[in-house]
Symmetry: C2
Subunit: 194 residues, 2 copies
DNA sequence: ACCTGAACACCGTTCAAGT
DNA sequence: ACCTGAACACCGTTCAAGT
């Protein structure tokens, strides 16, 4: 595995020995995002990317060890862990609702990302960050660890299913009906509070 | 579009003029199911299938107009519309729960099918059949058409998300937590009954 | 009627070589 | 240090020809 974002992380002076790099990983991800937005996930390929960037497709292996590596960087770039103000005085169920709606909005706005989260191993710091945040909300509300992780699974199942269906625009999911189900789930969780 | 299952549907005597077919569509789907079960959806390809069947990959275009056509037949073959006995005296929410669990069991037992349902346009008689059945349950329970379709969206979002996550074995979904969320959703629907 | 190979336009990845 | 083309093992699909 390459050190991710090799060039971007270099805080030390750029005076290295040897041939200077043509690109840095950020530029590759930029180009990938542009293709994703314009033509969807299926159009994102090393070969396509390389012609867009004016390099050999093999050059990209200098920045990412594999296509999966690139896609993970794409996920990391494109969605932010929602900022939840822990100092908030709002009740936990309202905070939870707001965070879920925020994630939903982000994922729907970049079709393809939800698919990556489900399909690839869903590791990566975004997943861990969101997970930790939601677990915190549930534990602070009084759920046991076990109840909290089960509740989280339920919420993620619903969220990702809704996003997948909406973004592939089969019939079914409207934004309004997404809220409806989310309310059912959160009400259900509330009723199970010890 | 080819007439689906051309040979299989022929109830008239098989005496046709011209060269007899080497295969029929059922055999192709059989082979596709075998590959799906053994190696997953990504391994199902016209070329792979054709070597397995001992024909040119181009021969398969005589049975299916495109790969999407084949995949639709794969879905149709592999999952049955759950039999719901309308005469049942059980309350609607129990019937709904049972049907959802049945669909869940079927989809989990054949990883890849849920992905096809979401990704491809989700047309086809299986989807229509299940949809009609669940709508019936909800309408008979007293939901308006609007409420019923929204409820259905919510249930499908959850079901397909859960199956996708479980079959891709990211953390998250256990069969037990699937039931939990399903109960929340059905309880929510019940509480919204006019 | 039905089957076929060649060709086209794509993939990701390995390897050995070039600067 | 970094970049590159050739090669390998794959895709789906079109087309014109073969039986």
């Amino acid at each position: 595995m390459n050190v991710p974002y090799r060039s971007a992380m270099a805080a030390d002076p750029p005076a290295r020995r040897g041939r200077p790099a043509l690109l840095d990983a950020e530029q590759v991800v930029d180009a990938a995002v542009a293709i994703l937005d314009a033509e969807g996930l299926a159009a994102v390929s090393f070969r396509r990317l390389s012609t867009e960037l004016g390099v050999s497709h093999m050059t990209l292996y200098g920045y990412f060890d594999s296509k999966d590596d690139l896609l993970e960087a794409l996920v990391a770039r494109t969605i932010a862990v929602p900022a939840v103000r822990r100092s908030s005085t709002a009740p936990w169920d309202e905070v939870l609702l707001a965070v879920m709606l925020d994630i939903h909005r982000q994922l729907v706005s970049r079709p393809g990302i939800a698919e990556l989260l489900i399909t690839r191993e869903l590791t990566g710091e975004w997943v861990a960050g969101v997970r930790e945040q939601l677990l915190d909300i549930l534990r602070n509300a009084g759920f046991t660890q076990r109840r909290a992780t089960d509740g989280l699974s339920v919420l993620f199942n619903y969220l990702l299913g809704a996003v997948m269906i909406e973004t592939h625009r089969g019939r079914g999911g409207s934004a309004a009906s997404f809220r409806l189900g989310l309310r059912y789930l959160i009400d259900g969780l509330k009723s199970d509070l010890p």
